[in-house]
Amino acid sequence: MSSPPTASTGLPPHLSDATRDETSLRRFLHGLPGVDQVGVEQRAAGLATRSIKKASKLWAIDTAISMVDLTTLEGADTDGKVRSLCAKARRPDPERPEVPPVAAVCVYPDLVPTAVEALRGTDINIASVSTAFPSGRSSLPVKIADTELAVAAGATEVDMVIDRGAFLSGRYGQVFDEIATIRRASGEAHLKVILETGELVTYDNVRRASWLAMLAGADFIKTSTGKVSPAATLPVTHVMLQAVRDWHTATGTVLGVKPAGGIRVTKDAIRYLVAVHEVAGPQWLTPDKFRFGASSLLNDLLMQRRAQLDGHYSGPDYVTVD
């Protein structure tokens, strides 16, 4: 097992010890407190009953818009599709210029140049999936090349997938090394590590994978590729928010969380923000520390935003379809 290039520096001893070798890593991950499924789901459901109204709702909508990683990850993606997505990212609601831009556009590596071109002059990040997204089933050199391709083309964020097969067979060191390697290959780009929680199945696994990714140098931990069901869920996000909160307590460093897939409506987005607010803490309520991996969510946020301001409901014909 190799040491991660950045994360190990400055870690408290019990965390740097955890990554010393395969045995230590396993002992550490299996020593994390268990997660009771019923308990975490009950807490998530309870918090989901928060009623967010008026100014606090408007604030939540605008904040959610600014946290969207506007995503297209289809085999049918084209330059045209990416360009129109980027236009939407810059000005989500053309009639309402005060609407903030989204946080990032998320595309496959080969379409990064198109996005770079289309977003020139903005602060919008360009995220590229990598490492043989979505399955991650390829060799390490291919995954490195995939990442380097994206970064060289101008991606500012890399959304990698972990090797779930290795994780589920208990080869934690291999997963760790791979993340650390991609961390290096990503250079200056922000690294989001996709756990694909739908394949990890248990919350205990989600917690372990979260810590594994954080130890290996992730900037963000991300739930899902969006290609596996279930994708993001509130309780999974709770577990990951607990992980970054505990990481912060242990290290003083604030890492981010990105639920992706399945978040389509404003009501859901606000529930996630409430979870961010109350489980992790207010300092995570920023696009630097929390993102939504989504596509159709944005339009619902825009419609709800209009409804809030105009006092009547809006319709899909009044927002742009891209």
Partner: protein
């Protein structure tokens, strides 16, 4: 009639598996129904009650923690030993209760059978009173009867053996321990029963038998903070309400005195088993 002078038995208390005299040094004469002297019985004091409660409390952990199967075996063994003392019990009952030999015999038989009946309940009562609760949520919830703890028993005054067995056996079958105040005027079969218990596998302290004045001893049992429940079956009528009030001091479970002593020859139901158990409900989530 043999010429030999018999060795008369000294009737003592049964506390913590031992046979002490009353700490008070008192005894009282016991007569048959015609007034003929039978023996002196130890006359227990409040301090004997205290010692008996200490012994009973000490025995709770082991007895309630034993498997129900084991308690069944132990209690069944008592029935075997009772059978061996059939003649002795019959003679004592005939003397104590003033019944003829045949009647006394059949009473002993009924008492032994009653003991066997309750012995068989030890490992069934949880099935009958317990439950898996179908709660509306992702939880496994189950309820089981557990022993209440230390039970003070005022044994029936009239039926000196069958009545005693009928109130004592259900108390200990469910895992409680007992402090019994025997029939005041007919204590001899109870003392003989304690000799049976002492030679059986029933651990010391599980059953403690005190002979003496019920009216003197009962208030100490009813007010004792380390007694969890009281069976008032043999309480003097004039005292029953006061005793019940005393029980309120620590919220004891009370099995009330009936207006007249029950007919112990009737087939019992499980109400006496239900009287001294607590239902414990346990919940646990079901999740991956």
């Amino acid at each position: 009639m043999s010429d030999r002078l018999t060795v008369a038995k000294t009737y003592k208390l049964y506390v913590g598996g031992a046979f002490p005299r009353s700490e008070s040094g008192r005894s009282y004469p016991v007569h048959d129904t015609k007034g003929t002297f039978l023996a002196n019985a130890a006359q227990a004091s409040r301090k004997d009650v205290r010692e008996a409660v200490v012994a009973a409390r000490k025995a709770v952990g082991g007895w309630s923690g034993a498997t129900a199967y084991n308690r069944g075996q132990v209690l069944y063994r008592v029935a075997e030993l009772l059978e061996g003392r059939r003649e002795q019990f019959a003679a004592e009952i005939a003397a104590s209760e003033g019944v003829n030999g045949k009647r006394a015999q059949s009473t002993v038989d009924a008492a032994i059978d009653r003991w066997v009946w309750y012995a068989g309940w030890t490992d069934k009562i949880a099935t009958v009173l317990g439950a898996a609760n179908p709660v509306a949520g992702p939880y496994f919830s189950f309820s089981v009867p557990e022993p209440t703890g230390v039970v003070g028993v005022l044994a029936p005054q009239t039926s000196s053996l069958l009545g005693l067995v009928s109130v004592l056996a259900p108390v200990i079958a469910t895992g409680n321990t007992a402090v019994v105040v025997t029939s005041q005027d007919r204590p001899l079969p109870a003392i003989t029963l304690s000799e049976v218990l002492a030679t059986s596998d029933v651990p010391g302290g599980v059953v403690n038998l005190l002979t003496g004045r019920t009216a003197e001893l009962a208030p100490w049992l009813a007010s004792h903070a380390d007694v969890n429940a009281v069976d008032l079956t043999g309480a003097p009528e004039s005292l029953a309400a006061d005793l019940e009030r005393a029980c309120a001091g620590t919220v004891k479970r009370v099995l009330r005195r009936r207006a007249t002593e029950p007919d112990w020859t009737e087939t019992p139901d499980i109400s006496r088993l239900r009287a001294f158990v607590e239902t414990k409900t346990v919940w646990h989530p079901k999740g991956r």
